[in-house]
Amino acid sequence: MYGKGLRPLSIATVAALVVSLSLVFFYAPLDADQGFIQKIFYLHVPLAIVALIGFVIGGVFAILHLRSGDSRWDAYSYVSIHMSVIFGVAVLITGSIWAKASWGHWWVWDEPTLVSFLIVFLMYATYYPFRYAIEDRERQARYASVFAITAGAFVPLNFMAVRMAQSLVHPRVFATTNGGLPGSMMLTFLVSLLAIGLLWVTLVKFELTAKSASGQLKRLRRALDAPAPGGRSRVAPEVS
């Protein structure tokens, strides 16, 4: 059920990534200030945007779980957060590489954008021990949903706070007052964003399918071990 449409989605993702990389290296002009180093922008920024949106989506799924009590939403929420944490790792590493090349340091502690993303990432890193510290499955899902909603609400607040902070070293390239991105760079960026977004959706679907298969296998084993006539089949993947 979760695997439906996975194949065309995977093909679309690979195609989008190929087009994106082609645009990055053969179409987008070199940045006048940073030169070739700026190519990291087309990877790092879409990864960060998709990771942050993924955290918020995890919170939205958690709301749906608490409202309906349907464990499928909990699985969606868990996998969204899980995938965004993986993307978050990529954001931190690519950001550090860019920082080293541009600023000469792997990390700058007085830069609000970097530190705020690290705070968000570390907050979500606590999601796993928090979730798995609770043994009862119902309570685990409920508490994890509360966490996902609270943390998900923190993400846009954090983003706005950082935007209001006057940074000297982290440029605001989407602002139009100081020129912003030229058309070719903007197109490349948007295609990269689409490609990374598609990658996130594909991996979420992939993970859900694997979890669903694993959960159904467990059910099958239980059914073979102790058949329960009239037992209702659950379709939601078990998050364990």
Binding site: F26, P29, L30, D31, A32, D33, Q34, G35, F36, I37, Q38, K39, I40, L43, H44, L47, H82, I86, V89, A90, I93, T94, I97, W98, K100, A101, L199, L203, F206, E207, A210, K211, A213, S214, G215, L217, K218, L220, R221, L224, D225, P237, E238, V239, S240
Partner: protein
């Protein structure tokens, strides 16, 4: 393209190229690691499914051989435990 790269005011290409390559390689490596982990999980699911199918077939055969009697095949937990299988997710 090379002329453009040569004219770039920032780091020279031999310096900048390794950072850009590093960033993209890290991204690729993360995806490859993720896919490898998922492939391992898929293999485990496939193996367990095969074991379950074999168990179900063995039980069906035993039931056919002795209808009305309680199946004498071992429980599925015992059967799978001997293969060291786990049923956990990610």
């Amino acid at each position: 393209m090379l002329a453009l790269l040569a004219a770039t005011p920032a780091l020279p290409l031999d310096e900048a190229g390794k950072y850009v390559a590093g960033a993209y390689v890290v991204f690729l490596a993360l995806i490859v690691i993720y896919v490898a982990i998922m492939a391992a999980k898929l293999q485990r699911i496939e193996r367990e499914l095969g074991e379950l199918a074999a168990f179900a077939e063995a039980r069906a055969t035993a039931d056919q051989a002795a209808p009305g009697r309680e199946s004498e095949t071992p429980s599925i937990s015992d059967s799978l435990a001997s293969h060291g299988s786990r049923g956990g997710g990610a």
